[in-house]
């Protein structure tokens, strides 16, 4: 699915997003980079239909995204936390979100099992989330996001709470899922190495209120190390800008 973000702004008490525009073709892996608290998560929440933008619009394949419960189900989302219902088993958690797709109970069950197998959780279908590890919970959350067969998969620093080793394993896993499903993915991270190794489009956001500072096509034409150096410098500049003038370095 083609994703277009057009001049999207959002303000709460303060402006958070300032006319953010970007575009991604079907099957792209977009990485959103930027300083902490700059509005990356807010942009993802707007794409996920959780809240509407103050101005601007989001289009999926040219159709504007609608907000509220009546909207169509296009987007799977993996949050920073797993957000599984602790009182439902892994299989029930995945099956729950399939109701909105109008599947009957047997189909929901079969689909849930299929996607749990796809993320390597066969045998754990009947486990409650509190009985499995954090990495496994996050896999189940990915299975839930994929099970609705979304046009767009949003991931908000999904591995932030995992240890370094699990994080690497899950990165490889997401790369495999992307390669096998061809989904359009928007992935928020502040790990530059992760973004450069995985993303096809890198979006560097500015300090709050966030704008798109730079949009880089990561097609392998640029030297990886030079690119990482460049992004590191950019993110440091934005981090300092976000802290505001007059704040001395510690």
């Amino acid at each position: 699915m083609r994703l277009e973000v057009r001049e999207v702004s959002k303000r709460y008490a303060i402006p958070v997003l300032d006319a953010v525009s970007l575009e991604a073709k079907k099957g792209e892996f977009v990485c959103l980079l930027g300083p902490n608290g700059c509005g990356k998560t807010t942009l993802l929440r707007i794409l996920g239909g959780i809240e509407p933008p103050t101005a601007g619009e989001v289009r999926f394949d040219g159709r504007p995204l609608s907000y509220g419960r009546a909207g169509e189900l296009h987007v799977g989302m993996v949050f920073q936390e797993d957000r599984l219902l602790p009182w439902k088993t892994l299989a029930e958690n995945v099956a729950l979100v399939l109701k909105a797709r109008g599947l009957d109970q047997a189909e929901r069950r079969a689909t849930a099992e299929r996607y749990l197998r796809f993320v390597g959780l066969t045998g754990f279908e009947e486990y409650y989330p509190n009985r499995v590890s954090g990495g496994m919970r996050q896999r189940a959350a990915i299975a839930r996001a994929l099970a609705i067969e979304p046009d767009l998969l949003l991931m908000d620093e999904p591995f932030g709470s995992l240890d370094a080793q699990n994080r690497r394993i899950m990165q490889a896993e997401v790369k495999r899922i992307w390669a096998e499903t061809g989904k359009t993915i928007v992935f928020v991270t502040h790990a530059i190495e992760e973004a450069v190794s995985i993303g096809t489009t890198l979006v560097m956001m500015s300090a709050r209120p966030a704008r798109v500072r730079e949009l880089i096509r990561n097609d392998g034409a640029r030297d990886r190390h030079a690119l990482m150096d460049h992004l590191n410098r950019a993110i440091m500049e934005e981090v300092l800008r976000q802290r505001g003038p007059g704040v001395a370095d510690p």
């Binding site: 929440r45 419960r69 189900l73 957000r83 219902l85 729950l96 979100v97 109701k99």
Partner: protein, 256 residues
């Protein structure tokens, strides 16, 4: 739970410390009884005999049954109303404020106010203790339900929004399960309160129930029977706690 069970030694499993306290209480009780006489303090033995007698004669079922019937109606309706208030405050935010304020006022109202008022309104009938029980337990259960509804994890609600769960599905799969531990806790406290309050209300106007028979025993100078009925009340409370509420909690929280 598991760590407690693992660390429990045979002394705590047999509740030896509590049995020791019980032995001391019985010895002191017996001594006081001998010193001051059976009217002030009936002996443990006469209380035990009285207990056996009311069980054998079936009085225990008559009076405990009458009290439990009134509790079932009074506390049962409080439960239903509390859940409806919880639902209202989930669906409509301003209701939450109003319900919270009403709960605060009701909580500040003395049992005796409701006893006297219900005697005026309903006279010497079953309705008096039922109404008193209802008015006293309602704020306790409602406060717990409201707290439960308010404590629903916003992040889970957002998840439901992303995945376009219907309002009913959100309520059924997210709100109710989040509220249930609070509801059960409220029921537990509420039932204990219902038992204590309904018994006090039974002193006036009715001719059955544990409160009535305790007061009657006092009037006919059968002090040992006052103690017997106190023990019956305690037994009902313990059975409800261990057999009903603890089991309910374990069943509802097997996912923890």
């Amino acid at each position: 739970m598991t760590s407690q069970a693992a660390s429990a030694t045979w002394t705590t499993r047999l509740r030896l410390p509590s049995l020791l306290v019980l032995a001391v209480v019985l010895v002191v009780w017996e001594a006081v009884s001998r010193r001051y006489g059976a009217y002030v303090m009936p002996s443990p033995r006469s209380v035990a005999e009285g207990l056996v007698a009311v069980v054998l004669a079936g009085d225990v079922w008559t009076h405990a049954g009458a009290s439990l019937y009134r509790i079932a109606i009074g506390f049962g309706s409080a439960l239903v109303v509390a859940v409806l208030l919880g639902l209202a405050s989930f669906l409509w935010r301003p209701a939450r404020v109003a319900v919270a304020d009403v709960v605060t006022v009701l909580n500040a109202t003395s049992v005796f106010v409701w006893i006297v008022v219900s005697l005026i309104w309903f006279g010497l009938t079953n309705m008096a203790p039922i109404f008193t029980t209802f008015m006293i337990t309602l704020p306790v259960v409602a406060a717990n339900v409201i707290e439960g509804v308010g404590s629903v994890d916003r992040k889970l609600l957002e998840m439901g929004q992303v995945y376009r769960l219907s309002g009913w599905e959100t309520f059924r799969s997210i709100v109710i399960p989040s509220t249930i531990p609070h509801l059960v806790a409220g029921m537990k406290v509420g039932f204990g309160l219902a038992l204590k309050v309904s018994v006090v209300a039974e002193i006036f106007g009715v001719t059955s129930g544990i409160g009535y028979i305790m007061n009657y025993s006092r009037e006919i100078l059968a002090t040992q029977m006052v103690f017997v009925w106190a023990l019956v009340m305690i037994a009902i409370m313990l059975v409800a706690d261990k057999l009903v509420f603890d089991r309910m909690t374990r069943r509802l929280e097997r996912w923890r």
